[in-house]
Symmetry: C2
Subunit: 358 residues, 2 copies
């Protein structure tokens, strides 16, 4: 999507394959700075300090990390081990490394470098195609609303499932970009998404850079807006989808789904097929990560003088709890938007798009 | 309630009636500082810059403002006019001034001073008695839960309807203090309550000072906690109650009520009878204030070095919307806790406690 008017990906190889350029996402939304990864160590650092985040982008960065290791003459095994250790629980990280290893291991040492860069590029292009397909299917839903009402379609989203979390397009935001680029009038309500504020920072920044009309709201506000007819549909992402259509996503998603259901507002979840966990019968089995209390008690922002500082918002000594995700039951989900189309949030619905899982 | 181990009211006259002491609530939770109001101008300033906030406390401060004016020899009419102009939409402010005027106007000039201090004290004592009665009725609900489960009763609250908003006890927190003081084991989940963070700052501070076990959570977390059986009941306050039992309260209350309903968690609203608006058939008619966008885009907190600063958390130029309240329909409310007892959230329920309104 666009940054300062220029089409941009979250990760891109240099033309001479001497490095890969990323956006330092730890600096957003206050600073937009690119970094060039030139070594395996650079790539590992970028993943571990979260200069790159979002499952697809972490996988892509790991793939380029292997390519950079080949530039340096580092062996495949230690390169993969270094990258795998950066964020041990990231599923896409392990997946991308396994794929790179499968392609490179059979090759002679002098063939690996070119193959690594080609495979990393393929991983990125496939992710873009997947997100673009989600965008196309979801944009049709937005367009259908636009054809039935005057004025812009109001879409509410939670957290950041935008292009910053992928290589391009995003998942939940892909339908919004696709509809916007096609000229469908729309406006996005951006939940700030406490505690880490990915909405207020990353989603608002993305939408602003691409020129998409949007308004930031606190996480408390969406229900009221739905009660008053000011939300036409919701689209959120998901970290993990159970085989029955239950979805785990950023904490607070469940509350918005309840409000949407209570007010007859369609609630869609956008996801790449590979994130469906067919082994999970229901979302109840999804373990919910409890993160550091400091994410709740402290907030980073920019002062009037332009310094980025962290402030504590609670009384010293008051404890905080920080469950990172919640599970939205399938009964509250109007449909799942995948790269293969839109289906009901149910086992039968998913099987209709992924019959190979029958 | 207690501050630093000492029973404290939010406003109290000096023994020699030369002033009234308040807590500078603009400094909480980072600084606990008392101020003594010695003049009418001091009282007007305290109300207008929100050193005191909460409808009952604003009324009490206005009453003492009139008493201070009598100390200074200011006439009754200009004194009331000055105080009335501080926060023109505050219902309790107008009510307290009308009451002071009704008592003082018939008196000779030399009798007014003593009468003003006595009437202000009576207003405060009546507010305390009202909140204490709410506390007693609500504590019985908490005790009933405690008798049916092992371990502490987990109560979730939203915003600050605590003693800081009243003279003492509070409304939603009064049942919690009453149960806690009676030895009922309990723990409070404190919604941080964006955008103004009254939960993370004021409610957490109050509970901590009084020694009540509590945990701050982001507004997104309550639904997940209820899904997992970690909330036994919710108690919130309300700014305005319609005659059918619909309640207007801080933005986000509706989302918690939906989650409570979805999970079978009792959801109570605590309110003083005088805040019932018998002229309103339903909550749909309650106008919702839209406040400044800066409350969403900026957050105040304390840096590591102890400075209190305001930081912006959104990209420069991203707009924000800020509806301040939402309306929770009576169908989601398990009961209303008033000074006269607990009743169903319905017109019939309210009439059962306030038969004089038939």
């Amino acid at each position: 999507m666009n940054v300062n008017g220029l089409p941009t990906r979250t990760i891109a190889p240099l033309p001479d394959l001497s490095g890969a350029t990323i956006i330092d996402q730890t600096r957003l939304p206050f600073r937009y700075e690119s970094l060039t990864l030139r070594t395996l160590a650079d790539a590992a650092e970028a993943i571990s300090v979260m200069q790159v985040r979002g499952a697809p982008l972490i996988g892509a960065t790991a793939a380029y990390g292997v390519a950079l290791a080949m530039n340096e003459g580092v062996d495949l095994d230690p390169a993969c081990a270094t990258l795998a250790a950066t964020r041990p629980t990231a599923v896409n990280l392990a997946w991308a490394l396994a794929r790179m290893r499968a392609v490179l291991a059979p090759l002679a040492a002098d063939e690996r470098r070119a193959a690594a860069w080609a495979e990393a590029a393929a991983i990125c292009d496939e992710d873009v195609a997947l997100c673009q397909a989600i965008g196309g299917h979801g944009a049709a839903l937005i367009r259908a609303v636009a054809e039935q009402k005057p004025g812009p379609v109001n879409v509410l989203t939670h957290c950041n499932a935008g292009w910053l979390a992928t290589v391009d397009w995003g998942t939940a935001l892909a339908p919004i970009y696709a509809a916007f680029d096609a000229g469908v009038p729309l406006h996005v309500w951006v939940d700030e998404t406490r505690p880490r504020n990915q909405g207020a920072s990353l989603t608002a920044w993305e939408l602003k850079q691409h020129g998409v009309p949007h308004t930031v709201i606190v996480d408390n506000a969406g229900g009221h807006l739905m009660q008053h007819g000011r939300v036409d549909l919701c689209i959120v992402g998901t970290d993990r989808t159970a085989a029955n259509g239950d979805v785990a996503n950023k904490i607070g998603t469940y509350l918005k789904a309840l409000a949407a259901f209570d007010n007859g507002v369609p609630f869609y979840v956008a996801l790449p097929g590979p994130t469906i966990d067919w082994s999970l019968d229901s979302g109840r089995a999804i373990p919910i990560e409890e993160r550091r209390a400091e994410e709740v008690t402290c907030i980073a922002g920019e002062t009037e003088s332009g310094a980025v500082v962290t402030v504590r918002v609670t009384p010293a000594g008051s404890p905080a709890a920080n469950p990172a995700f919640d599970v939205t039951p399938a009964r509250l989900v109007s449909g799942l938007i995948t790269e293969r189309g839109v289906c009901p949030a149910s086992h039968e619905g998913l099987l209709s798009l992924y019959p190979e899982r029958r």
